[in-house]
Amino acid sequence: MIRSKLFVALRLGVIGFALLTWTYGVATFSPFAFDMFIRPRLMPSLSDFVAWHHVLYWVAYLATVVTLIDDLRARADGPRPARAAWGVAIGCVAVLGGVGVLLMRSPYLPGLENDRRSLVAAYLALLPLLALAVLDHMRAWPVAQPATAAPSQERLLRACLSAAGFVWLVSLIAWLMRKPVPVGEMAALAAWGWSLVLNLTIGVAAYVALLLVSSFEALPRPRPAIAHLAGVAVIAVGVSEWLRRVVLPAISLDAAVSGPLSVYSGVVIAAAWSGLSLRRAVSQPRPRSAADTLLWTQRPLMATAALAAVPFALIPLLTTIERVDWAYVLHRLAIGGVWIVAIGLFLSVYREGARPAWRRRLIIAPPLAALALAWSVPFGLAQLSRTLGDPDLAPAAIADQQAPIDASFRVSMGLLNRASIDLVSFRQRVLDRATAADRGTAVPTAVAATASPPAAHRPPHVFLFVIDSLRRDYLGAYNPQVTFTPAIDGFARESYVFRNAFTRYGGTWLSMPSIWVGGPVTRRWGDGRFAQMNALEQFIRRESYRFLINDFTVAMHLRADTAVTRLDPTVESADTDLCHLLQGLGPELDRAAGQPLFAFMAPMNVHIQNTHVRGGNPVDPRYPGFYAPYAARLERLDGCFGDFVRELKRRQIYDDSVIIITADHGDSLGEHGQWGHQHFMFPEDIRIPLLVHLPGRLRQGLTTDLERASFSTDITPTLYALTGRRDFIAAEDYGAPLFVDADRTLASRRDGSFLLTSSYGPAYALLRNNGKEVYVSDLINGREYGFDLHRGMLGTEVPVDERMRRSGQQAIEAHLERVSALYR
């Protein structure tokens, strides 16, 4: 007879294999996840799993067979239940073995693409678990004797509240072990106090769920079977809701798919867990309650040791997860797992004493107390904030600061802070439109098929610097507090400084191609249609530029017959350095007299990977009020740019060049407690610098509007217009030239609204009032924000009122519908 521990270990391995296969199927089906994670093979271990899946399948198969040995040994002429189980076991072995043979002949997973087959694979991946769950219930149900009395309310309550305190304490220790960015003591105290209250609230909710399950055992005529089924139902609902509300929206899967998938997956996972729990219970010495069975309680000494070990395992895990996580999905999974494990362990530690009859007050009082606390804390904080005049104590500010550093706070807030019904339905409509756009097959372009005649004069050289993650408030040209960018500031005095510029997309993946297209792109932009939409490449070819590029997003999608010189081709993306790129440009300048140059550079000197992950001391007296690692790298970059400008002047090329400094997007450097630009659409992420130097011969007859909302997608149409080309046709949602003849004015952008989209998830910013009013809808976290950008580098956060919400959501939907129509 196979030992219980070995059985459990092998089955967990099989479950893990099935879930990993499911994960790959789902990620491949999601257009967003496929383009972001799967196609670029961002996770080498996942790629290896896929490549070896047909072999690993056999490992899982053998593990399954070993766990079925006892079932296969059941006598064919034994009692009916055993014969039935034997039949199912034989069927499992045969069918799964046949699947294994088919996979060896034709491995399925590596051939999956972003289509329905991937979704089918995800569904099929869990079927073996369902079959095994059926078998487990057939074999173990009659044998796993249920308890004759329900667990006591006191034990359940103590276990749940202890688990809550434990998870909170581990989160606090994890925070103290890091080097926290200094916050006000009062705010920190309030934040961690609120976190404790939220954790206790979740603990009480878990207690109520356990009461529901155990209540069937507390009836005058106990119903242990129903208690067990109730427990399984709670697990199924919990897993389904977590998938539907947390995981699947994070990869932009629309409701039509995520709903059924979540329900199916939740049911299968709950059934598999139930079966495994029953099998384990068979080997336990005495009858157990449904809660004990499903939560795997064990001997108190072992449970105590396990509790002591949890922090040592969790804290390094959270640190590792932080580097690869997406929209905190893995964080939430880790904390959710710790919650469940902690409740089980504390149930093990608190032994059952005398079992008094259930009392009504222990059913009603804890939830009421939790309700009162959970409601009163944010209102109390709001009052305290108003009384003391300290905005850091406002609940929204505390939530923004605490969520990134306290995983249990984030999970608790996510569970408790339900989005309004309006926001849920809005999210569904938005995801549906975004998915429709991603799946569209049309090839929109704003460039005329036939090139207009070239201008009489020679086109100017073009040097286009799109500096990844460059923030405008870190340049002296925008922010007088900045003292570390003298070269760029000097360049700005000889250039046009567009003070109200925005990126159309919050991340490189979509922002870069949108600059080249001069308009909206979808997440499928790189699937072979890009050449027809790539207006900037067509411009370069039509003007016969000598083309130089350093870029890791668009460069691999240029036409094969486009003559191009790649700068620093062997340097890894995160290591691209403007200084080194400009050195490489030197020899190319020697040949500038013969043919006009077009140089496109996208260095990563101030990308979050270099400024925060690789880091440095955040505070430095040379950069007061600024994030020092970012400022220091920018200062170096500025020095190199200054040398470059002097070199252009020395060669008398400067006044024959269009030179543009901009960014694909900004970055969060701790504002709102966030770092980087995953899916953030705050002012620091969406505002960009845009500095344009024009040759003297072009400046004379042109005017512009430096305060008008301008976009990174205006750059390409501007270059067309500057060379006298009329090939770029004005169209709604596309960019427009930044300059017009001096006796005209630019079309106003004050009446309409403009949609900015996150590159990496369903988060949107809607600009109105010439970009001075911003409504942000973060559909990943179910949050919304309002900003007034009239004053200050980063504007002021304002409450989202009904007008802003209603008009913002309507406009977001309308914009998405237009983009979707472009691609249908």
């Binding site: 309700l371 004379q700 512009t704 001096a742 004015t745 009446d751 409450p799």
Partner: protein
């Protein structure tokens, strides 16, 4: 037990304190559409609800000018510039009003500010020349 769970599920969710609902009428929400041509009374009512909406204030200023009330128009345009000092088009309108009122220095200030935002724009330069000419005439 089911009742307790239902109460928890419906009542427990903690929502962060929301802003007071600021109910704008549907009329005010639609003012930015091209088809809208509101009168002064409507604009003044909406201004009370949306005091920092610069497009609303510009429309109000234009409506005042159309009704011959340059003083109120100037007030509305000044309000715009308090909110958005970079609104060059409004500075042009202000400059026209000031020029009509022979306030040449003030008009020159507005036009120079506008030219910093819209460098080289001929219409601004032409009006600035008119302001200088008017100032010279006034000095004689």
């Amino acid at each position: 037990m089911a009742a307790v769970l239902a109460v928890l599920w419906l009542a427990l969710p903690v929502t962060l304190p929301r802003a007071d609902v600021h109910n704008a009428t549907a009329e005010c929400l639609s003012l930015n559409t091209p088809a809208a041509s509101p009168d002064v009374t409507t604009l003044e009512r909406c201004r009370a609800l949306q005091p920092r909406d610069t497009q609303l204030l510009v429309a109000l200023g234009d409506a005042y000018q159309k009704a011959g009330d340059d003083r109120r128009a100037e007030g509305a345009f000044r309000e715009v510039l308090r909110v958005d000092p970079g609104y060059a088009e409004v500075r042009l309108r202000m400059a026209r009003i000031l020029l009509a009122g022979q306030r040449f220095e003030a008009a020159e200030v507005e036009l120079n500010a506008a030219l910093r935002v819209q460098p080289n724009r001929r219409e601004l330069q032409t009006l600035l020349e008119a302001v200088h000419a008017g100032a010279r005439m006034a000095r004689r």
